[in-house]
């Protein structure tokens, strides 16, 4: 079974230092030391994550903008060169085929970074539509290593790898830079709520040399970050940090039956776009007529951790179910995301989570779950 699992360029390092688990067909580290320790490194200092299990597609061609606008919901026309945005790719019924980061790296060149679980599905989807637009779609997942550097000290760490002043690159920019001698894209984005970057390390294919280069870059981050308190982080801290930030995960909050309006990710969808994307009409109808369900945050009042798919009750009536949950290292309480019938509850309301037959009290909240003045990218701003 283990032989069939996919691995990243950093696998040998993970095998030596981490607790490996299976995650959607990939063999990945769930932790290197303690999940809570890794989590707090991201909140207080800096953590590095191997995110190379995500797929990276390069899309080129004079019709690339039209192609991407047909397939994604954010406004591609407003995406300037050297910038990235969060967006979704819908099916005809406005269900989410995938959520992704789209970076524009040239006039007619874009990088599409997609969920590990959706890689093959999205590749097929892109190839199917590429012909109509005469664009070139190249799967570069196995040639590029992707490492997220996240936390309040993330940019200080990256600054140590170059003579260049990185402060000119603001949030959501994406630029080609040399870091520790490696040719990289520095994407000022992330999935933890914290400041930082996602680094695409180019020329790191699945050859002995390529893997050595990838591990070399990873170890350089650890070496240069030692005095800053850097920690290598696994999937456990990736899940707990994204949940504390209230960020959605495909397969939990997002799927083919859930629309971005229901998921409450309004920043990913625009209606003044040309051409209209797949799923546009249905999404517009939902906006006018209302949605079937809506995403909420919950914080446990009683003991316990809300988990997928525990039922959520309000005044004794079943109103929905939990899609993700974790023990929040910052709050020291169980937190979760859930989908419920719209219009019934709002922040501050008390609901009950049915944890294996025992009803436990929880409060409805928004996100992030942490105090944004103390944690996250906008702290102290």
């Amino acid at each position: 079974m283990a032989e069939k699992l996919k691995r990243t360029q950093l696998h040998e390092w993970h095998r030596e230092h981490g607790d490996l688990v299976e995650f959607v067909g990939w063999q990945m580290p769930v932790r290197f030391t303690d999940i809570r320790e890794e989590h707090m490194a991201v909140r207080d200092a800096v953590g590095i994550f191997d995110t190379s299990n995500m797929s990276r597609f390069i899309i080129k061609g004079s019709n690339a903008r039209e192609f991407l606008q047909t397939l994604t919901t954010n406004n591609v026309g407003k995406l300037n060169v050297n910038r990235g945005h969060y967006t979704t790719c819908l099916n005809e019924h406005a269900g989410i085929h995938d959520d992704l980061m789209l970076y524009r790296v040239g006039d007619d060149e874009y990088i599409w970074v997609t969920n590990a679980v959706n890689g093959p599905k999205i590749h097929a989807h892109l190839m199917k539509h590429a012909e109509d637009f005469e664009v070139e779609v190249a799967d570069k997942s196995r040639d590029i290593t992707m490492i997220a550097v996240q936390g309040p000290m993330a940019m200080s760490l990256l600054g140590k790898l170059t003579d260049q002043d990185l402060s000119e690159y603001g949030r959501f920019t994406c630029n080609r830079v040399k870091l520790a001698g490696y040719d990289c894209y520095l994407c000022r984005t992330g999935y933890t709520g914290e400041d930082g970057a996602e680094i695409l390390v180019l020329d790191t294919p699945f050859t002995e040399e390529g893997k050595k280069r990838a591990i070399g870059f990873w170890e350089e981050l650890l070496k240069q970050g030692e005095t800053l308190g850097v920690r290598p982080c696994g999937l456990g801290a990736r899940d707990s940090t994204r949940l504390e930030a209230g960020l959605v995960l495909y397969g939990h909050e997002l799927n083919e039956e859930t629309s971005p309006l229901e998921a409450r990710i309004p920043y990913a969808i625009k209606f003044k776009v040309d051409p209209h994307y797949i799923g546009y009409d249905e999404l517009k109808r939902q906006r006018e007529e209302g949605v079937q369900k809506t995403r909420i945050g919950i914080v446990m009042i009683d003991r316990g951790i809300p988990r997928d798919p525990y039922p959520v009750l309000f005044k004794g009536e079943l109103i929905g179910e939990v899609t993700s949950g974790v023990m929040s290292p910052l709050l020291q309480k169980g937190i979760g995301l859930a989908y419920v019938k719209p219009g019934l509850v709002s922040s501050g309301d008390l609901v009950e989570v049915d944890i294996k037959g025992r009803l436990r009290k929880a409060e409805v909240t928004g996100w992030p779950f942490y105090d944004p003045e103390k944690y996250g990218a906008s702290r102290g701003v």
Partner: protein
Amino acid sequence: MPHTRNQWCTIMAEGSKVPEELMYNKEHEWVKVEGDLVIVGITDYAQNALHEITFVELPEVGSTVEANTECGLVESMKASSDIFAPVSGEIVEVNSQLEDAPELVNEDPYGKGWMIKIKPSNLDEEKKALMDSKAYAEYTESE
């Protein structure tokens, strides 16, 4: 992913302690007979695999349980795992210390991290389904 609660199926485990005097089931629980009671907890292998345990939900004292049915829950930062009753009987005591200190299960799984005491109703018969330490050690290696 068949069950979300097992979203990460462990495929590697460190070496772990298997005390000889205990009996074990396939759910990685240990069973100790003490007088007319049975003490139950999870094994070192199980606590290692779960790692940072954050919450333990135990059955209510006075309730009765059937062998091999769910009677509680262990939550860790990594995953959530059910507790199964290894034998049938009445729950006579639960380790209430775990409410405030679930980490005791990590620190001392065979001692302070014990979970429930059962007054067994069919021990002689149900004991036959349990493994001795040697069989359990082999079982964990084969997993």
